[in-house]
Amino acid sequence: MLKRKMFRDIRKNLSQFITIFLMIMIGIMAYSGIKAYMDGMQKTANRFYSENNLQDLNVIGYLNYDDLNKIKKLDNVKDAELKLSVTATTDNDKTLLLNFIESNNISKFYIYEGEEFDANKSGIWLDNFYCEENDINVGDIVLVKYDGMVLYEKVLGKINVPDHLYDTRDESELYPDRKEFGFAYMSVNEITEDYIKSIAMKEASIADEKVFDIVMPNFNYKDHIPFSSVMVDVEDKNNKDNVKENIEDNVSNAKAIINIEDTSSYVSYQGEIDEGKTYVGVFSGIFLFIAMLSVITTMTRVVKNQRVQIGTLKALGFSNNRILLHYIGYGFWISVFASLVGLVLGYFLIGNIFINLEMEFFEIPNGAPSMNISSYCVSVGVILVVALITYITGRSILKENPAETLRTKIPSVSGKTIGITKRGFFKKLSFSSKWNVRDILRNKMRTFMGLAGVVGCCALIVCALGMLDSMNFFVKLQFEDLYNFDYKLNLKENLSNNELQDLYDKYGSNTSQSLGIEIKDIDGKREANNILVTDAGNYLRFVDNKNKIKEKPSDDGVYVTYKLASNKGYKLGDEITWHIYGDSKYYSSKIIGFNKDPQNQNVSMTRKYLENLGITYQPDSLYTNIDLSNTKEIKNVETIQNIDNLKDGMTGMLSMMKTMLILIIGIAVLLGGIIIYNLGILSYTEKEYQFATLKVLGFKDNQIKNIFIKQNNWIAVVSIIFGLPIGYYLTDWLFKTAIEEHYDFGAFIETKTYIISAIGTFIVSYLVSRFLARKIKKIDMVTSLKGNE
């Protein structure tokens, strides 16, 4: 019989139970969905890395077969493979990171279409995304040009490779442009003997081939292929450092040995997961918290409204436990059902949508969300909290004697707080304002829950829109303030002075050089970084911490980015000790200033300072404002990058962010709407008899509606006042803590975003209130007043 009572009570208060259901469902859906997406990212990568044997170390330098054999013989080395990576172009001026390999046991291909790697096969294996963007199919012939070498290659396969999840053309690109840039693999056998011979002749400064043949009669071109790296697979991953040291000691051609965890592809993917982990905590945590606050308030009220029935059941002889179990059932079954639906929707809807967006961003196969045990634990936690709240509320009512319980309890009106509203400014308020002020003071908890809900939603909207604003701001900072050029020419390595001079004559001499370095701290610990040496004048600019453009850098020391300085505890005047990769000589440089860089945390210096240290300046980039829109190729220039293209590259990333943020805003608005509706229902139910009295007294429906809406409007306005700054700090915190180590972003939220968020939040609140206020017209005075008796 009690079960029947429960179902009928639920049916009677259906809208309240539906909102409880929706709040739990949305809270769990948001949490489990984002969690499933993040865990799915991690598991997808782990599986890909493991099944396709991602290398543990990259040995960088000019390496050959002797070096490979030395590495293979070292302790704890499982396997090693040579690779020559070059930047090639295609007939339609796209850029390819072209890798020549002789076997494919390390960083194995995942083949979407085509055939396995075979060193004896002539052809090319191409980046799957690049193929899709450029409509290239297996069997097509592509033209590849590199350093005068022109190859026509048949596409043998469309692939993913575990060390190429995320590739950009260079550090000036924030987002990979898959249409313009991709990676490719070919057999080392495809490198022509003539090409290697020409390199060897250039190195030996011999112009005549006949002379070269005489000087090097036993020339075997394969021994002279200038491999750029060796991929090393280590047996015991915990002892990677020993292998690194052994390579340093035994392989003189090794210029740098880089852990795979420090490579840009790995860092970018892992960074996305780490950022996501913070979002899991923040966004889904807020969603769940807001939802639970509201559910707790509602369940407490639902049970309290059953006070007389509880007294009656008790008077009829039902045991306390039986009554408690009956009321726990109300919240229990609703929360069990809502949690299950939330878990399913979280996985299939949020998890799938988010991971599919990521899979458009990273080149990794079989991306799928993964349900984590913590999602089940959170669901169980939610069910237990709801049950516990029902239990505590029920128990407090059961403690009273049945006679007392059978009387309706009206919230107290006396007390100092309410007394204040009889004096001064409050005395002048209209009836409806006084009524609402006192109603708020009498129902502090309900009001607080309403405030918390709307504050949370407003803050989430500010945060979601603010993230887009901040990204747009940093694109402007990067591509308009820091980069003050139209074109960047990436120069070929080791250009002679004459070759450089030719370029200077045509495009100006604003150049820079990037040097891979290791910084040694006072404990002798070394950490990889890079130095930007600038001789680019006003073409490359620096900004201070307030994003204001700084004066021309000085020539008597180095500049360090604020974030790097903050992480390492560097102060103005400190000295840093560093050496260039491939050169064991250490230098000490005084820090003479700080600069802000949104995407690289590094060290900068002028060309003059570098040369004062005795190091030769060899530019790798040249900046110009000369119009190169019709120029496809420049001698001694590897790639020509247009600043607008670099900027456009960001559009893809921003559009992915937008989709995710729209979802978050959508959930925030939905949840906010439901919370306002739910608390509105609570508030309305508790005031219905007062509204009925007002109606009897002759108040018009609109007058009563305005009284009701006024309170919700106040709550919305106060919530917005708190929600806007909280939204700012949330965004700032997310950017400063969640984002990858090498980024230095902060919140930069435009005024219009605050206005949109405030208006949006108010509109949601107002519309829900108006929707609820429709009930006032339908109040049956007779029934409502009788019900109160």
């Binding site: 009206i410 009836f431 007062q690 009897v696 007294l697 002759g698 005075m781 109160n788």
Partner: protein, 232 residues
């Protein structure tokens, strides 16, 4: 013609799919300024009748003429205007706003009509001036019912409708309340009290008995008792 004329008033409810006549062809006349008591057992239709007279509910058929208006023909907004200007309600459980002070509760009427009286005078007349700044919860039951009366007479209504106004009060307090209501009737307001307490009938100008939704009797009391003589 009497001030209030009810002709063939029927009110039918659907209960459990079946029709139930709460009022089954009521006819009655009440003169202006009369102190009327409507008596009847539970379920007789007293409250339904009061609700119809107060414009809180609509008739199924028949007419209710008050003054010159047939309120049975009123639409919702006309009924709202009628409640705002012409009729005052007094409930058994007072129905005063718990979050408004005594004076604010009375002044509430200013929001629905501009022909209201002065609240101070009204409070003085019901003996509540010294409690004007208190919240209802700080008052006794009798005092709360006085607030309800003050609020009802604040608008200077033509008709004062009272649903068991002494039902929740002790005898002494009940008599105080009846005195206040009688005073209104003496000032030409028609006061209609619905009650099952037959003792109150002794002080009425007119006693109407209702049973099973029909008027059993409608009699003028030629010798109404003085209120102080009534006890229960």
């Amino acid at each position: 013609m009497s001030f209030i004329e009810l002709k063939n008033v029927k009110k039918t409810y659907i209960v459990g799919g079946k029709e139930f006549d709460a009022l089954d062809g009521i006819n009655m006349s009440i003169n202006q300024g009369e102190f009327v008591v409507i008596l009847g057992p539970s379920g007789a239709g007293k409250s339904t009748l009061l609700n119809l007279l107060g414009g809180m509910d609509k008739v199924t058929s028949g007419s209710i003429v008050i003054g010159e208006d047939d309120i049975a023909k009123f639409n919702d907004s006309e009924l709202t205007r009628y409640r705002a200007h012409s009729v005052g309600f007094i409930f058994q459980f007072y129905n005063i706003m718990p979050t408004l002070t005594v004076e604010e509760n009375v002044n509430l009427i200013k929001d629905v009509t501009n022909t209201s009286k002065d609240s101070k005078e009204i409070l003085k007349s019901v003996g509540l001036l010294k409690h004007a700044d208190k919240f209802p919860q700080e008052l006794s039951g009798g005092e709360q019912q006085r607030v309800s009366i003050a609020r009802a007479i604040m608008k200077n209504p033509k008709v004062l409708l009272c649903d068991e106004p002494t039902g929740a009060l002790d005898s002494k307090t009940g008599i105080e309340i009846l005195k206040l209501l009688k005073k209104q009737s003496d000032e030409d307001t028609t006061v209609i009290i619905v009650t099952h307490n037959s003792l109150i009938a002794d002080i009425a100008d007119r006693v109407i008995k209702i049973k099973n939704g029909k008027v059993e009797s409608n009699e003028l009391n030629k010798h109404p008792k003085n209120i102080d003589e009534v006890k229960w």
